[in-house]
């Protein structure tokens, strides 16, 4: 209920009114009573004559003192009742400001250049802002990193605001300033005297500043309360492992180290594997406490702002977990490092799943050689053309079925197939004649089938003019006639070469085993973007988002380290996937604080020391303090008979 611009947060108005009525009636009734005088036997009657000879004026004075006493009691009761109803300035009080205290809790706020951390300093600054709020001001505490959330509503309760500020904890996520400011603009929209106070170290990139919703904040009094004293950090800004494109059994890892210090420095980089069983299992970050077997040490000298890439070849077995960490170099200019979260990074060597392949056709040494080059990760079963039909029922069970120069009729409608030079009634791509000496004129270079495959100047003696259907993809073609085709249908994946590789120089090139490996991977991984999977299992960056897809699962990741992902539909006992997450954000790692903030040409001044109208005080407390004072005064006056 709102009365005179005040809302009652305590006793409801109705109850308060009833209590006031009853109390007032009781007090009046009590004061209407005439106090019976005490019986005292006085032996000398003439003394009483003086006492009884009270003047009229004295009688009036006594009556007034009684009514004054009643008034004091009424006032006391009213003050206590006022404290009980707890009146507060109404929401719609246009006199007060609406202050949104937006606290940055991104990774850079964990820098230790301030006592405790920058976040501790931010909390102190925010408490100071709350202490300076005016009596009619209302404030909301909100925090942000990659996400943004309100910690309180717009309220006047200082203790509630302070409580929310004290609860703010740091994250290992990067800051999304445009999103946070968009949120702030939305939360302040339509509120009286909107004020935004950003408490932060100002570690935002140029793009984040450019994308800030300056227009939405045009009517808002924006303020910037800086924290942080210096920029002194060396960071690993990227660490991930990938399969070698030329040799899928081999894995490379790269570590990118950058100095954000103002002077040259030297750091030691250690790369190691996490020993089996050494890591803590369970949800969330793991690896920090794990035992690490160092496999490589490097000493890097870095100029200010310099970035160096350190590459490891043939790192470790598939599925291994890698840790790269920065250690202060002894000797040289080691210097300080205020941010720990980017000194230790994690990567998982991508696993290479075993693929089952069925090869149907006659002898073909080129094909056999290429299949052999794929190593033990591909298990090949071979059947002759004549025996093909006997295996038809099991075709869908294979990761890839290769038809070398044959096309069993009818063409299968489910499964994963690779055709070389398909012909006859069983061909999924009917031929319309032959093409002499075709030249590869167009290639869909982004298609997974031809990833890293160079087809320039491919020499083909003769190819078929394949007919493709809508939805098919001509991955490579010769002036409109497809040479490599891909088809995706529900439950079916087909790739085809329109020519016999033996009638071309393809088997002589490194492109052939690559093409074959790509085809097997593409067929086997139906629906999974192998490119993304390669990277996602190697390492994810909190910079690009928090939710990542691993296999069929979307996992939100909030902390750096290894994350064990068990999919709900996974088979019992199946090994859970492990994902490595890193900060990988040079903007966060650059801990140079900003003393001032300018967005879209608008400078954000410092927040004022106190809001208009002076420090705030709870009305109920004021009323109660007044009641205490009144109570003591009344007690004194009564016993001194100033009131009766």
């Amino acid at each position: 209920m709102t009365i005179f611009g005040l809302t009652l947060a305590g006793l409801p108005a109705g109850a308060a009114a009833a209590i006031a009525l009853v109390g007032a009636a009781a007090l009046t009734g009590l004061y209407l009573l005439k106090l019976r005088r005490r019986r005292v036997v006085v032996p000398f009657a003439p003394l009483w004559a003086a006492a009884l000879g009270e003047t009229q004026s004295e009688r009036l004075s006594r009556r007034l003192r009684r009514w004054l006493s009643l008034a004091l009691q009424m006032l006391f009761g009213a003050l206590v009742l006022l404290a009980a109803v707890d009146p507060r300035p109404a929401e719609a009080d246009r006199a007060g400001r609406s202050v949104l205290i937006l606290i940055d809790r991104s990774a850079s706020m964990s820098a230790t250049d301030e006592p405790g951390s920058r976040l501790g300093s931010a909390r102190r600054v925010a408490r100071g802002i709350v202490a300076g709020l005016g009596p009619a001001d209302r404030a909301m505490v909100a925090t942000f990193a990659s996400g943004v959330a309100a910690e309180t509503g717009f309220e006047a309760d200082v203790r509630s605001l302070e409580g929310a500020i004290d609860e703010v904890t740091g994250t290992e996520e990067p800051a999304d300033l445009p999103r946070a400011l968009g949120f702030a603009a939305a939360a302040l929209r339509g509120r009286p005297h909107p004020t935004l106070i950003l408490v932060s170290d100002g570690a935002y990139g140029a793009n984040a500043r450019a994308q800030a919703p300056a227009q939405a904040l045009s009517g808002v009094d924006v303020r910037f309360a800086p924290v942080g004293t210096r920029g002194d950090n060396v960071a690993i800004i990227s660490f991930a492992a990938r399969r070698d494109p030329a040799d899928r059994g081999s894995v490379q890892a790269s570590v990118v180290v950058q100095s954000f210090r103002d002077g040259p420095c030297e750091v030691a980089l250690e790369i190691g594997t996490v020993a089996d069983g050494g890591a803590q299992e369970g949800p969330g970050s793991e690896g920090a406490a794990a035992e690490i077997v160092v496999v490589e040490r490097a000493r890097l000298g870095l100029a200010p702002g310099e970035r160096k890439t350190h590459v490891l070849h043939e790192v470790a077995a598939p599925g291994a977990r890698l840790v790269a960490r920065l250690v202060r170099a002894s000797g040289g200019g080691g210097g300080g490092d205020d941010l720990a979260v980017d000194d230790r990074t994690y990567a998982v060597v991508p696993a290479l799943p075993r693929r089952r392949v069925l090869r149907v056709g006659g002898g073909n040494l080129f094909l056999e050689g290429a299949l052999l080059s794929l190593g033990g990760q591909v298990v090949v079963r071979r059947v002759s053309t004549a025996a093909a039909e006997s295996t038809r029922a099991r075709w869908p069970d294979y990761d890839a079925v290769i038809f070398d120069g044959v096309a069993p009729a009818p063409a299968p409608t489910a499964g994963r197939f690779l055709y070389f030079d398909p012909a006859g009634a069983g061909s999924p791509f009917p031929a319309r004649g032959a093409l002499r000496d075709p030249v590869v004129s167009d290639t869909q270079k982004l298609h997974p089938l031809v990833k890293h495959v160079a087809l320039a100047d491919l020499n083909v003696r003769e190819a078929q003019r394949l007919t493709i259907e809508p939805g098919d993809t001509a991955v490579a073609s010769s002036f409109g006639s497809p040479l490599i085709v891909a088809r995706v249908r529900p439950g079916l994946r087909v790739a085809a070469l329109a020519f016999d590789p033996r009638h071309s120089d393809l088997p002589m090139r490194t492109a052939f085993p690559l093409l074959l490996a790509n085809a097997v991977e593409w067929l086997a991984s139906a629906g999974v973007d192998t490119d993304a999977a390669d990277v996602a299992t190697g390492g994810v960056s909190l910079r690009t988002g928090r939710t990542f897809r691993v296999g069929d699962a979307d996992i939100p990741v909030a902390r750096v380290g290894f994350h064990r992902v068990a999919t709900a539909g996974g088979a019992a006992g199946a090994p859970a996937a492990v994902v490595a997450a890193n900060l990988s954000d040079p903007v966060e790692s650059d801990t140079h604080p900003s003393a001032a903030l300018t967005l879209a040409g608008r400078a954000w001044p410092r927040p004022p020391d106190a809001g208009p109208g002076g420090p705030r005080q709870d009305l109920w407390a004021v009323a109660l303090i007044a009641a205490v004072a009144l109570s003591l005064f009344e007690w004194w006056s009564y016993h001194r008979r100033w009131t009766v």
Binding site: L27, A84, A150, R179, A187, N459, W636
Partner: protein, 927 residues
């Protein structure tokens, strides 16, 4: 006096009491703080079995006034018994204690089952009016079931906003946000605002009403945060949009590489919520696409791809726009258009400079047949540096050095060092015989053009007999001098030259001497001045006199004249020369020259006759004539091409069927050059090497119907030269990598997979991607690319308004060399993701759908995922939302109000004790 002293004593007692009371209170506070578990100024302690807290315990110091109350009583003038006065003081002290306690902010921990609901309602454009109305109804139910203080409402689309109603119910005030805000759905932001509105000390619930089609924010991550806060999220699925039926253009795609004049397919991806028919229109650069501007196609629910065959005639950017003209059920028209900007790269470009028009026409035709553009220029057409920028390969076909200026040679050298390709093909006017020894071009060549062993033997003795009559003045004389100089310079050092000039008389300008004396010869030529008449006989005689004693394989006279002269004795003189194995060529300049006589001299002298009206051609005639003669390095005999090293450029070329070449220029390979083909004698035929960032190849035979006349007819001629040209030309094509672009909600992600020609990751590169938006006006931004894994470079940025994006990236090594990797991509930014047809959002094939969790998890599954992660569920009814179930929350509850009510009651008792005299024990009560 007595009264005053009493009062002073009372005041003193009161002050003393206050002081004493303060000490006692402070002691009490000190003791309490030792019992407290808090450190932030509050006092926490156990009160029976419950935890209690004093938020501002300093207010308990007010109790210091309590003794004063009793002290005041001692000197009281009130007419009460001592016992009643004592009772009054006790009650007043209790009242004081209560008030001090209230000011100390006492609170008790208690377990609550009250539910606080923050309803977060989706009002984005994808939510239909009917769904919105349904949401209002359901929210009204929840609001009725909830405590008014514990129900808050937020509406959200692209951003959130609390709904504040002047009168309940708040649900009735639920409306849409301003138009632009409705074009997105950011559930995460809505939830983020919701946390702040939850009443402290209650069971927190968020009721999410949405169609679940998030377009921004990381919804699942936000759900994780909600779970961490203990907030259960219940949801109500607004599903009416899926019933409305809609068709939309999702995007357009084109092949990775598009060349002018070549046809390619533009694929239009159409999303539909239902099976049906649609009419599509395609425009190219704002004009209807011809010959087929419109097409009617059948759609399936989900994605249907429609392919249009098209072509671009000029290199550059073309904008294709696809539009839905008519459809069976089309709920929205805002999503009926898609745009794609296509940059057609020109085909590889070769600049062919040849010695005479049409000489290398077969070579040019062969390259063009292999999709390589060829620009043919004459011998004077060698370009300047700026002209070379778009050229991938320069071919010099039998172009003598005299045709190139120093500036042009510098331009060629700089072009090659910066990455351009140069192929120098042979012929009589090329390599050493073309006068390239000692030039800027010579060190660029992968073959040495000076041949040891042939140095000491003079091959040629040449006499230039030049008419210096008055008619030769001006440009004619200047060009003649230049021709003489060029002739001298292109001769091998061991060859011999003499220059004889004549007017009415003859005089030797340069006596016969080795061409190595170039400075002396140049000085002699510089002295040449026109004057007098014309006496050819005298000049020719003196020229022959110079040659008679010469020791050389070939002796030759070049006679130049522009006038008339006597015929007397000329035939005999020529015949004598022929008898002495001296040949004579004649050059007539201008219409005044006696062509008949000069032709006769040339015919009898075994040489060639040239006539020109353009003096500018004099140098070319001289150098050509000299080149014909300076054939010490020329081998004119049949030879076969032999493979010295298997190179990629030779793949598929059947050299066993190659016909012989009829000649070549003898040369030696440089030690570090890549010798690929040799002649039958093992001399270089095709050699190549790297100069700076570019490559230079030498083909010592020719490209024309002289030595390569049989090769031109060979079926593999075109293929061989196309492959050789491609492997030599600028590495622009080979270092151009594909760029993967994806649109995830409203974020564009760019990925470049940098794998080098050696199939290895290209690590440690730095660079930027430049994104150009085809909006009006076009927007351009540049973003740094991050290496996120070996050879993998990525960047992400907001997509911006609907339209098309063209992307180009350059990556270089840190040592600031020119870019080593270039990549290009394009992307359609379709309608706001909010307007994606409902059924299509979930029906797409895994490959067609854009990556990203928000796009994959859409509609109901997303809402279910949120609920599952937070322990919530679908809200079947208002009661289900309000039911606390097993949830309990322990909260710190202030107990101010009950204490103040107790104080009021005590206050009434206090007044009562003042107004009513208590009877003594056994006495009757009197008023």
């Amino acid at each position: 006096m007595r009264r005053g002293s009493l009062q002073r004593a009372a005041v003193a007692r009161a002050l003393g009491a206050v002081l004493g009371g303060g000490l006692v209170a402070a002691g009490l506070l000190g003791w309490l703080s030792t019992q407290s578990t808090e450190t932030d100024g509050t006092l926490a302690f156990e009160l029976g079995s419950r935890a209690a807290q004093l938020g501002a315990p300093a207010w308990l110091l007010l109790l210091a006034a309590a003794p004063a109350v009793f002290v005041v009583r001692l000197g009281s003038l009130a007419d009460f018994s001592r016992g009643q006065l004592l009772l009054q003081a006790a009650v007043r002290t209790a009242l004081l204690f209560l008030m001090a306690l209230v000011l100390a902010r006492p609170a008790l921990h208690s377990e609550a089952v009250a539910v606080s609901v923050v309803a977060v309602a989706d009002v984005s454009d994808s939510v239909t009016d009917r769904d919105l109305e349904g949401a209002r109804g359901f929210l009204a139910e929840v609001e009725r079931a909830a405590d008014p203080r514990r129900f808050r409402l937020i509406r959200f689309a692209r951003w959130p906003e609390e709904v504040v109603a002047t009168q309940p119910p708040t649900a009735a005030a639920l409306g849409r946000l301003p138009p632009l805000a409705g074009a997105g759905t950011d559930i995460a932001l809505g939830l983020g605002l919701g946390y702040g509105l939850i009443e402290p000390g209650t069971i927190p619930r968020i009721l999410l009403l949405s169609d679940g089609r998030a377009t921004g924010g990381d919804t699942l991550a936000e759900a994780e945060r909600a779970a961490a806060r203990g907030v259960r999220i219940f949801f109500r699925h607004l599903a009416d949009a899926s019933l409305a039926g809609d068709v939309a253009i999702d995007g357009l795609t084109a092949p990775d590489e598009i060349r002018p004049h070549g046809s390619f397919e533009i694929e239009v991806r159409v999303l539909a919520s239902h099976d049906g028919q649609v009419t599509l229109r395609l425009e190219q650069d704002g004009r209807p696409h011809l010959p087929e501007p419109e097409r009617r196609v059948a759609l399936r629910a989900g994605t249907t791809t429609v392919a249009w065959t098209t072509r671009i005639d000029q290199p550059g950017t073309s904008v294709y726009r696809a539009r839905i003209v008519a459809a069976d059920r089309n709920h929205r028209t805002e999503n009926d258009e898609g745009t794609l900007a296509v940059a057609a790269q020109g085909r590889p470009r070769v600049l062919l400079v040849q010695d005479e028009p049409g000489a290398a026409a077969a070579f040019a035709r062969a390259l063009e047949a292999e999709s390589i553009d060829v620009e043919v220029r004459g011998p004077r057409g060698a370009p300047a540096r700026a002209d070379l920028e778009p050229v991938d390969l320069v071919v010099l076909s039998d172009v003598p050095r005299s045709e190139l200026t120093d500036r042009q040679m510098r331009a060629l050298e700089s072009y090659v060092r910066d990455g351009g390709g140069l192929l120098v093909a042979g012929g009589p006017g090329s390599f050493g015989s073309g006068g390239y020894a000692g030039t800027r071009i010579e060190p660029l060549l992968p073959v040495r053009i000076d041949l040891p062993g042939r140095r000491e033997e003079a091959t040629l003795a040449l006499a230039l007999v030049i008419d210096k009559s008055g008619s030769m003045s001006g440009a004619r004389m200047d060009l003649t001098k230049e021709a003489a100089r060029a002739t001298a310079e292109m001769m091998a050092p061991e060859d011999q030259i003499a220059i004889v000039v004549f007017d009415s008389q003859a005089a030797p300008l340069v006596r016969l001497q080795r061409a190595a004396n170039r400075g002396h010869i140049r000085t002699g030529i510089a002295r040449l001045q026109p004057s007098g008449g014309t006496n050819i006989l005298a000049g020719l005689r003196d020229g022959l006199e110079e040659l008679y004693p010469a020791q050389a394989k070939k002796k030759h006279v070049i006679l130049l004249s522009d006038g008339q002269s006597q015929y007397d004795d000329l035939p005999e003189l020529v015949d004598d020369a022929v008898a002495a194995h001296i040949t004579i060529s004649a050059v007539g300049v201008g219409d005044g020259a006696d062509q008949t006589m000069l032709r006769t001299i040339a015919a009898r002298g075994g040489g060639r006759f040239y006539h020109t009206r353009d003096p500018a051609s004099i140098p070319r005639i001289f150098t050509r004539e000299t080149a014909e003669l300076s054939r010490s390095s020329i081998v004119e005999e049949p030879t076969t091409a032999r493979i010295a090293r298997r190179a990629e450029m030779l793949a598929g070329i059947p050299f066993e069927s190659a016909p012989p070449l009829r000649g070549y220029v003898a040369a030696r390979p440089r030690p570090s050059a890549d010798l690929i083909l040799t002649t039958g004698k093992g001399e270089p035929l095709f050699a190549r090497w790297q100069i700076g960032l570019g490559q230079v190849a030498a083909w010592t035979s020719d490209l024309k119907a002289r030595w390569a006349v049989d090769w031109i007819r060979w079926p593999s001629f075109g293929k061989f030269w196309a492959q050789a040209a491609r492997s030599t030309m600028r590495r622009r094509a080979t270092h151009r990598l594909p760029m993967r672009t994806t649109l995830d909600g409203e974020t564009v992600s760019v990925t470049i997979d940098a794998v080098g020609p050696d199939d290895r990751f290209m690590t440690g590169l730095r660079g930027d991607v430049e994104a150009t938006h085809t909006a009006d006006p076009p927007g351009r931004r540049s973003l740094p690319l991050m290496e996120t894994a070996p050879g993998l470079y990525q960047a992400a940025f907001p997509a911006g308004p609907p339209g098309a994006l063209l992307l180009s990236a350059k990556l270089a090594r840190a040592d600031a060399l020119p870019p080593v990797v270039q990549a290009g991509g394009r992307l359609t930014i379709p309608f706001a993701p909010e307007l994606r047809p409902a059924a299509a959002a979930t029906a797409a094939d895994g490959e067609a759908a854009s990556a990203g969790a928000a796009a994959r998890l859409s509609s109901r599954p997303l809402l279910e995922a949120i609920a599952t992660r937070t322990g919530g569920r679908e809200a079947s009814s208002a009661a289900a939302v309000m039911d606390p179930g097993p949830d309990r929350v322990t909260a710190l509850r202030p107990i101010r109000t009950p204490l103040l009510l107790a104080a009021l009651a005590l206050f009434l008792l206090d007044v009562l004790l003042r107004r009513v005299r208590l009877p003594k024990a056994g006495a009757s009560f009197h008023v």
